[in-house]
Symmetry: C2
Subunit: 369 residues, 2 copies
Amino acid sequence: MNAPARVLVSGTGLIGTSVALALRGKGTEVFLSDADPATAKLAADLGAGVLVPDLRDAKGIADIAVLAMPPALVGRELAFVQECAVADVYTDVASVKVLPARQARELGCDLESFVPGHPLAGREKHGPGAAQSDLFLGRTWALCPLPETSADAVSAVTALAAGCGADPVVTDPETHDRWVALVSHAPHLVAAAMAARLAPSGVPADALKLAGGGLRDVTRIAAGDSALWTQILSANAGPVAEVVAAVAEDLAAVARLLARQPQGTPGAGTGVAAVTVLLDRGRAGTSRIPGKHGGQPRNFTVVQVVIADQPGELSRLFTAAGAAGVNIEDVRLEHSPGLPVGVAELSVRPDQAGTLLDAMEAGGWPVRR
Amino acid sequence: MNAPARVLVSGTGLIGTSVALALRGKGTEVFLSDADPATAKLAADLGAGVLVPDLRDAKGIADIAVLAMPPALVGRELAFVQECAVADVYTDVASVKVLPARQARELGCDLESFVPGHPLAGREKHGPGAAQSDLFLGRTWALCPLPETSADAVSAVTALAAGCGADPVVTDPETHDRWVALVSHAPHLVAAAMAARLAPSGVPADALKLAGGGLRDVTRIAAGDSALWTQILSANAGPVAEVVAAVAEDLAAVARLLARQPQGTPGAGTGVAAVTVLLDRGRAGTSRIPGKHGGQPRNFTVVQVVIADQPGELSRLFTAAGAAGVNIEDVRLEHSPGLPVGVAELSVRPDQAGTLLDAMEAGGWPVRR
């Protein structure tokens, strides 16, 4: 499966320009267009491809046209570029799929040549200046063909996604939108609702001193841009509402049961059994989230090491681990509020934990076995 | 404020033995007792202190007695050790405070000498073998005096907490329990309720391929032990129920508004404004969570570096950072499912970001500015 020979990227923001850069690296001839000429020029200056000043003069210029713009703009752009006949196959990269597919249908676009797509990659920065040729490396790229979409079109876009280094997964727009509601959009709202409880009124700063890493983890994504997330959530409103309503219902039920629990009888009562059931379901859910390298979640052993908070300390640590031939699969620093020490939690393959512990001890670190 | 001269630790599990080890390091004479003689002996063998076979023969043995056992057992043990008159001052380390304080009162304990306490530290392992002298280093240690508690008793336990390297924070039992409900217990349930949506029925494995780091963060703590967390949640049922009910209500309200949102009109409608309000409250909440070194949350600049997933790679990276005099405040590895590369996100002080980027580039890493 070779990367396509000629690709037009319409919309040279972060995603579009990253697609262009990735494909250029594979020898693809790339053409660039953007509603904002300065944005397109910046992408071209970055080496992403050749400018196309007017798509109406670009008939047959590409094998595939990639429409890289917000969901609500995809339908109209598809109608336009198909009218210009710029390519044989068309795809988009918007983060929801039902909305653009429906608009394309309503606008009478040719659906046989259209493969709705969504690369699961992004950055906090925007614009062509933030683009990276390796943005899609190892990421999932969802392809959501419509009933009308031809098999040849799907093959072509699959090759494009693979050419960008991504892992193509085929589904349909409705399923895609339910999936991203579940694994991305609803979790954002849940994190925000928990974090909203920490807002200043009624919660003194001392309360937050009792917070640990758990709270930070749960609420981290709630720090994201509210306006951007409002757009995302409302463009996938139905599926998000379904997941969030179910979460709210589970939480409300547990809250009712706990409220009835007599304060002095921990562990007793029927309400408590229901709490355990929800916690067990939660454990089952977390175990399904793919770990590093995708596929089956892998179990790593966590080795804890106390480290001084000074330049070079992590360097010494990782040098010792590397010298012992141990690959650190993940690392987290546990913060020690108030004191200049921390605990590094190093995840390694279980069969390497002993080697790492020995190496750390030999290096003089207080190791926690 | 000196560490106490003589301390009795009753209950030589993880926390009790860690207190003993920490105080021994400060020159405190430590005595050990446990309902299970083998557990007490193991703690003594680990150098945590001197065994006291029978507390009835230990009148006046200590300045402070530390009761390190589950919340529901504290009241009875306090009544017993006060009857034996083993110490002048008493404290406990249980993770909720209203329940043991009430039981102590009901059992007619002397409350003038009792300072309910809670060190915010723990590990996933249990027992004296998992104990660490540095477990409390830089952690918050809540002290929750009752109306009857004497100022001298509070001073003594404050010195004990400080002697363990912790940061003492004084409040009262009711406030403490509301605070931990907010920053620890409720977030656990919220994470579990989100993760429960990922359980196998109806969610194919492909859906999880669309998951990113956000979902992993939100649900991480839901992997904890269900039985243990059921105990914790039911021992603090009222305050937990209050927070969880409020979160559920916010989520249900947003779900209702989103469900009414016409699918084709992203960004429009009054429901959307309410979503933004919740997201904004969430952002305000996350900004209050203390960062490293406690106190005011600090803003770090995140520098992204693409790294190969092989032994020694992180070592080279941190060596380069250390050589440039840059202190890495936090590090996260972004997983790349399916491919042996990753992105290291290094948090540094904003004024050091440029230096780090230069050092990374000089070292040959593809840097993301």
